[in-house]
Symmetry: C2
Subunit: 333 residues, 2 copies
């Protein structure tokens, strides 16, 4: 099998140019991605310092390969990015940031010897943060699931960003779910891809079975952009599957926060029995109970291509093999 | 130079898998695209029967190669698609349709021996129209300029459509402006690309120099989706550059039709002195006068990659050469 090695692979110390978006706070999932030759990224934004240290330790027990840790800067700013300092103290080599200006954290990432990776939605923003010192740019297209920063589609955004930051590492994100998307992103000039929705169906990913079933059944048109699930992260656009909560909100004329149908209602419970209100930002995990299908079901437009539950390693191997085969076939056409 | 021949090329009788979106009603432009080995498509929606016959004749004087004629079905339905019948009478071999159900016209296109090509925005719609008999599906992504039918980005839409209509010809549209976009679309499974914005800078394209200058200066984030320019085609989303008219409309809180700033004001004149009101759907052509920069400046998100004025043939040759080079390089990686 071909490896599709790109300069990004060498830079990050990985075998194949596939990064798993931080769709999970599960060390098992993150380690599985890195063990399969890609880059696993831990979602650490909602962790305490102790939880983060424990999670990093749990990843290291399962892999010796590189992994990253992600922070939503807008949500860690109040704590002055204290957990980011924990990740650096623990020697994490790749720090991924999102949703706010990375200027306040770039120097401390570099001072700790780590690589800085930031997600942007435009070529102007890419140029600005590379000038500030960011090492790896994730160009996130409009197709992406979860929180979406920009409004430009991946196919138009990727080459515009590549042209804006010559010499920088660019990763393409949004709508990429199989080897065709990987090949397309590399053709557009990216050094790798950032994949979220596809990995929700990884066997190692701990989402709730009902969420998984909705992902399997959904088409590319079922992942809708809204600001509806704003509990914990207000005024932030995100893409999620149309479910009971979105249907009611749409039927009510898409009212603003505070005036939405059944606002404040507890609809589910986490594994320690904690209540989860409607419009919260938490997606359903496997040990949650209640009306989990009414919780936010993050998904990108690649959901139309996301149908089979497989081990992480098989998802990555299939993606790389398919992309390699496309390049060989097309170079002969 | 490699030719990147695909089954779509053989089916349409063209040399390279590049179709120029119907950005122009100029026979010179359409013939130039076909003479360069791609497929030129004439925009015929706003023509009388006599104008259409004359235009088809003018194309045939300049090329013996295949070309297409495009109709916005929603706008020709009142005349019971009479000009479509004219195109068929004249022996046009490829009829492209958009914006409404193609069911009423597929049989007459086929009865005349022509190929039916229809633009869709989702995999479900692709399946439906292929079942009705459409031969070539144009999968139009959210990045596209001009009128945009769906909400799914090109990178996620193209493979979803390809999977939905196995065996049908699929063309990828939206955000494709260079060889990187062409290579990406082919990697996604398309048999060819449908390119609009890039061809606005063709030397043979007769847009106004001020419109051309705006295209050259614009970034990928400057092409905005709205329903603002609805004169002649109401309630139809379209993507165009942010200009004076859109800025005023945004500043006024994006009011509905009838309540917009300076509505009804004549801002420019066509080549016979006819008035063009603000919010009209007509883009500025080279022989128009007045405040043409306040007219609608259609552009897709590929506008960030669209910077150089070149002959049609050079645009197409560069695109194909760049895509070929990408496949050869990537197959060796």
């Amino acid at each position: 099998m071909q490896q599709l090695q790109t300069p990004l692979c060498h830079y990050l110390g990985i075998d194949v140019p596939v990064i798993a978006a931080p769709v999970s706070a599960s060390p098992v999932f993150v380690a599985a991605v890195s063990n399969a030759g890609g880059l696993g990224v831990l979602q650490a934004t909602w962790m305490t310092a102790a939880e983060l240290r424990q999670s990093i330790n749990a990843i290291r027990q399962r892999t010796e390969r590189p992994f990253g840790v992600n922070f939503v800067l807008a949500l860690t700013a109040e704590q002055k990015h204290a957990t980011l300092d924990i990740a650096l103290e623990e020697g994490v080599g790749i720090i991924s940031t999102f949703w706010a200006d990375p200027a306040p954290v770039i120097d401390r990432i570099h001072d700790a010897g780590a690589i800085s990776c930031h997600t942007v939605g435009s070529s102007a923003e890419a140029k600005r943060v590379v000038d500030l010192g960011v090492d790896v740019i994730v160009a996130q297209g409009f197709e992406a699931g979860g929180h979406v920063w920009g409004e430009v589609g991946t196919l138009a955004l990727t080459p515009a960003v590549v042209d804006a930051v010559p010499g920088a590492h660019v990763v393409s994100a949004g709508g990429i779910a199989d080897g065709r998307g990987l090949a397309a992103a590399l053709a557009l000039g990216a050094g790798g891809v950032w994949v979220g929705t596809r990995f929700l169906l990884a066997e190692e990913c701990n989402i709730h079975p009902e969420y998984r079933d909705r992902i399997i059944a959904a088409r590319e048109t079922d992942a809708m952009m809204s600001e509806a699930f704003d509990g914990g992260w207000p005024d932030a656009k995100h893409r999620s599957l149309v479910n009971e909560t979105l249907e009611r909100w749409i039927a009510a004329g898409r009212p603003a926060s505070g005036q939405r149908p059944n606002e404040g209602e507890v609809i589910a419970f986490d594994d320690s029995g904690g209540p989860i209100p409607r419009y919260d930002l938490q997606e359903p995990l496997e040990n949650m109970t209640g009306n989990v299908a009414a919780m936010v079901l993050y998904a990108g437009q690649g959901v139309g291509l996301t149908n089979a539950r497989l081990p992480v390693a098989a998802i990555i191997d299939n993606m790389v093999a398919e992309a390699s085969e496309i390049f060989v076939r097309m170079s002969a056409s």
